[in-house]
Amino acid sequence: MIKIDNLTKYFGENKALDIKQLQIAEGSIVGLVGNNGAGKTTMLRLILDLCKANNGTVLSKGKDVSKTEDWKEYTGSFLDSGYLIDFLTAEEYFKLIAELNHITKEDMQLRLSRFDAFMNGEILGKKKLIKNYSAGNKQKIGIVAAMITNPKVLLLDEPFNFLDPSSQMEMLRLLRDLNKEFGTTMILSSHNIELVSEISSRIILLEKGLVKKDISASADEAIEELRTYFSIK
């Protein structure tokens, strides 16, 4: 589904990312872990063509993401609240997402109802602009907007940040359902190794832009391996 070839990205003199080869299979859930500055967000941004690689390519369904914009039709993402259109209300934002993705009003209502527990009555019907929501609720709006289109590829950066424990558990359930029902390929970056290991079938550990470990194991084994790695450091 996603193929990375000789991808490098520099910020000034600093090498932020250097991935020789990486393939992410269709329908897999991949967790990206690593310390600050490991290159997780940079990798997601390069996959989303939000920054220009110094070298290499990212292919989504075999097409270079920097050469075509077709991937936008089947890719959902949320990196941070800066990507939200914050002068809209949550309802207006979801309506925009529906219109851009050719989803009818009725269908959108149905899809939104799937997220009722996740939104916990704090998002819809509040009649306030997105910029006036709390960080946690902005996070929820972004995640719902990314998932509501039932994308074939979903990229989330630190999705568990700002969320209360109930919302984190609810989000795990929603992600599993989406993957099961629509075969969505997911890449989730997170510092929370327990949550990300629980949901992911594969964990990629980045360190200073390099892939240090590529773990395909059960959640417990992955957590153990990651704990060992980070405690040694």
Binding site: E73, Y83, L84, I85, D86, E99, L100
Partner: protein, 237 residues
């Protein structure tokens, strides 16, 4: 369809951020101050063209050539206008980067920004400042309209180039655009002076200048589109 949708959002963003803009008194004050300087320069120019001073100047330097003076002042005024647009507090409501992860093509975003910048009311300020000159001196209305339209297109170019500077990641090309425009300006203005002097040629050619303004905008649109799409990446890289 996406174009109309995003265009509506752009308009909505202006309505929704108006309060924020009003709160930012410092930015407004600095912009007004810059435009006051511009008006001051023009007022000085108007006074210098008054009968008494004109007579005095004519006695010293010869024939009163109003258009030469008006056009000579344009480059400095356009430069000042460009500086205000480049360094002034821009409209932050419509953040095009928010759309980069949505299924909206970069070309659509770039076109919308271009169109909105072309029709920005800020572009009217500079041509309107010249209105007193054009009304004081007895020119035909079509000449005034065409001349003001030309001024408007140059002002729009300023806005667009300033916007490209803010949008693009690789900004080196903006300097080339700036240089091209400002080298082009005297080349365009000198014939205008000549045309004012030779009334026979003037009438036909002032329309040409209005069309030339449109042509410049079209060329700028092609450059703007190509460069912005190529370098349209999230800004905080």
């Amino acid at each position: 369809m996406n174009f109309n949708l995003i265009f509506k959002l752009y308009k909505l963003s202006f309505k929704r951020v108006i309060l924020e803009i009003q709160e930012n008194k410092l930015a407004i004050a600095s912009t007004i101050f810059m435009y006051l300087i511009m008006i001051g320069v023009l007022a000085g120019l108007l006074i210098s063209l008054s009968d008494e001073i004109s007579r005095l100047r004519d006695s010293i330097i010869g024939r009163n050539d109003t258009h030469l003076i008006i056009n000579a002042s344009l480059i400095s005024l356009f430069s000042l206008d460009f500086s205000i647009k480049l360094f002034g507090k821009g409209h932050k409501g419509f953040n095009v980067y928010s759309f980069l992860t949505l299924p909206v093509r970069k070309a659509v975003l770039v076109d919308i920004v271009f169109i909105k910048e072309c029709f920005s009311l800020y572009n009217l300020i500079l041509p309107c400042l010249f209105l007193p000159f054009l009304l004081v001196y007895p020119y035909a209305i079509d000449k005034i309209v065409c001349y003001m339209f030309f001024l408007y297109t140059i002002s729009a170019c300023n806005t667009i180039i300033a916007r490209i500077f803010r949008l693009g990641r690789k900004r080196s090309y903006i300097y080339y655009l700036y240089i091209v425009l400002y080298f082009l300006l005297p080349v365009l203005l000198i014939p205008i002076v000549l045309l004012f002097s030779y009334a026979v040629l003037f009438k036909a050619n002032i329309y040409f200048y209005a069309l030339l303004g449109v042509f410049i905008l079209c060329v700028l649109h092609r450059i703007f589109r190509k460069t912005c799409i190529r370098d349209f990446y999230y800004i905080d890289e």
